[in-house]
């Protein structure tokens, strides 16, 4: 446990969703749309962690392990075929040990010029209880493994199983910069406070942003936590898109669909996902992009305006 817990996160300022500087996406698009397939590896017999049980029942927890394996054995190729069909390059939230376990999947994604970002080593190894040095080592392992297997300079991070420390964002940005300069470690998917990218405070003062990734549209949250019926997920995705598309006429928004091959690619659910992709990509003024592309565009064109606006409003807007 932390010796002392903070009341406020302090990673960003209160910044109201009105009267912000206009965001302009390439070709005047209203919505930057990205799909983030989580390609994960859960261990059959992971070590214990004092703060979180990896499996709900004694190991081997066959039901949980085997459905996640379904995602890699069966689901991945199905989802990839759909993304191909609708001209979408995935931004893979990667359990990097998958590079060793299932390199065939990595090869397929590379052939399609998909982006890879780090989602930890395994989704059964948590940040909880790691010292700062250990967390730095885990983050470095993630970034280096992606580089070794794909040649990519990892730009984004989603902490494994959404397990965080107070230092997670700082460490990721620092290690990314150390290894790859301004190209490495530029965005986090771990914060859910906005529908637009926002600048993040780091102890290093480095330029770094939060990228909207959306737990609300995340298929595992939708299906496994909120227990939504497949056809209703389609309705949710359309409504989410429609509103962001309408608002995007004023200032560019971001929509992300985070997926898992063991959820969205199951035979009884894939049709809903396909219809959503068809609907969204059937609109003009949608920028189909990857997380890195959106982050780089924002950093190059909007980050400084955002900082100035946040600064100007800080005296009256408050803090969060």
């Amino acid at each position: 446990m932390q010796a002392e817990m903070k009341e406020r996160l302090g990673a960003y300022d209160y910044w109201p969703y009105e009267d912000r500087p206009k965001i302009t996406w390439p070709n005047g698009a209203r919505v930057a749309f990205w799909v983030a397939p989580n390609i994960e590896y859960y261990e059959l017999d992971p070590p214990t962690n004092p703060q979180r049980k990896p499996w709900p029942t004694p190991h081997p927890s066959v039901p949980g392990y085997s459905i996640r394996d379904y995602g890699n054995r069966v689901g991945h190729e199905r989802q990839m075929a759909l993304l191909d069909k609708y001209g979408i390059r995935g931004s893979v939230s990667l359990s990097v040990a998958l590079c060793e376990h299932h390199p065939e999947i990595i090869t397929m994604c590379r052939e399609r010029d998909w982006e890879f970002f780090s989602h930890g080593i395994y989704n059964t190894r948590y940040t909880y209880g790691l010292s700062e040095a250990q967390e730095r080592e885990m983050i470095r392992d993630g970034i280096e493994t992606i580089h070794r297997h794909t040649g990519q300079k990892c730009a984004g991070y989603l902490a494994p199983a959404l397990s965080h420390s107070e230092h997670t964002l700082d460490l990721f940005a620092e290690v990314g910069q150390e290894l790859f300069g301004e190209e490495g470690g530029i965005y986090t998917c771990d914060l859910f406070h906005d529908d637009q990218p926002t600048p993040i405070h780091l102890r290093s003062g480095r330029r770094f942003i939060s990228m909207p990734y959306s737990l609300e549209m995340n298929d595992t949250i939708v299906y496994a936590v909120n227990k939504v019926e497949p056809r209703h997920y389609l309705t949710m995705l359309k409504r989410h898109f429609d509103r962001l598309y309408a608002e995007g006429a004023e200032s560019g928004t971001v929509m992300c669909i985070p997926t898992h091959n063991y959820q969205v690619s199951c035979p009884h659910r894939i049709k809903a996902f396909e219809e959503a992709l068809e609907y969204i990509t059937g609109h003009s003024d949608v920028w189909v992009a990857t997380g890195r592309e959106i982050a780089q565009h924002y950093l190059a064109h909007h980050y400084d305006d955002a900082l100035r606006d946040i600064e100007a409003k800080a005296a009256t807007a408050g803090r969060s």
Partner: protein, 311 residues
């Protein structure tokens, strides 16, 4: 206080899996299987016939759909028993009308306690597979090996004796296993198992006592998962099963044989307001000529005859 250095050691970080139970391969890359009659889709209709004891021990966890109230939980005990007294006869009628060839996954203790039911199922026909002893005899890591070995042996032998069938298949209660379960199944002459739900086709599964074939019995579309765990409506369940059927049939046409494994619970889908939904599902399946609906053992044989070193 931080974790020891071993938390960042990964001894199984290698090509393939973090275990040696089966080989890594992706479904789309495997040799094409065609079912008898050159059908692209095999349908395994599995009926789980279960006994939930009133004096549930809940070791090492309370089985889903078991007793939840303080003892004696008459509510759940009798509602589950409903399936074996009433619900199953509605399923039998629906099956008879449509010529369904089911697989009966039965708790051995239920087979022993209800000879009328067992005789009725035998008279209908279909394959029996062993669904363990009862729903409160779970298999789990840390379980004493001899204790588990005795449960497996007693369950399989009881069912063989009562049914006169070979009993080739196994389904663990709650699909939960110990580290030893696959070896114990192989030792008892079991050939296939439905517990690992990681594929839409059978595949080879290694044990130290010889090979099993894993026949993944989908949880995602089974009645209790959709309606009891996810609390979706009956109509949504019909949509989900028929959507899965349509998708797998199409994928089977394009890529080679697929398996739709539909697990049913008479205590749930045998209720008056739900049985019509099962009938709608069965009608949807029956309306497609490119489907081979067969007991699990026949699907196993057809798979093995073609699989070779497919896995």
């Amino acid at each position: 206080m931080s974790l020891g250095p071993e938390y960042l050691h990964y001894p199984w970080r290698r090509h393939g899996y973090d275990h040696d139970r089966y080989a890594w391969s992706m479904l789309g890359d495997r040799r094409t299987i065609r079912w008898p009659g050159d059908k692209p889709l095999a349908v395994w209709i599995n009926v789980s016939l279960q006994f939930y004891p009133l004096n549930q021990r809940g070791v090492p966890f309370k089985v889903p759909n078991g007793m939840t109230m303080p003892y004696p939980d008459l509510r759940h005990y009798s509602l589950r028993d409903y399936g074996n007294r009433v619900g199953i006869y509605r399923l039998l009628a629906a099956f008879e009308q449509r010529g369904v060839r089911p697989t009966w996954a039965i708790n051995a203790q239920l087979a022993e306690r209800t000879p009328y039911l067992l005789e009725r199922l035998r008279a209908y026909g279909g394959e029996f597979l062993c669904h363990g002893w009862n729903m409160d005899h779970l298999h789990y890591g840390g379980q004493d090996r001899d204790e588990e070995a005795a449960v497996v042996r007693r369950s399989v032998e009881t069912l063989r004796e009562l049914t006169g069938q070979r009993i080739r298949g196994w389904l663990s209660p709650a699909k939960h296993q110990s580290w030893n379960t696959p070896e114990l199944l192989a030792e008892n002459g079991i050939e296939y198992c439905g517990d690992w739900i990681n594929d839409d086709m059978p595949y080879a599964f290694a044990t130290e006592r010889g090979e099993l074939t894993m026949m993944p019995l989908s949880t995602e579309i089974e009645d209790q998962f959709v309606m009891c765990q996810n609390l979706h409506s009956e109509d949504s369940w019909v949509n989900q099963v028929t959507d899965a059927f349509d998708f797998l049939l199409e994928e089977g046409r394009a890529q080679g044989g697929r398996l739709l494994a539909l697990n049913l619970h008479p205590w749930l889908v045998g209720q008056p307001h739900r049985i019509g939904c099962l009938e709608a599902v069965l009608d949807h399946i029956a309306a497609h000529a490119e489907v081979w609906q067969a007991p699990a053992g026949e699907i196993l044989d057809a798979y093995r005859a073609q699989a070779g070193d497919n896995d």
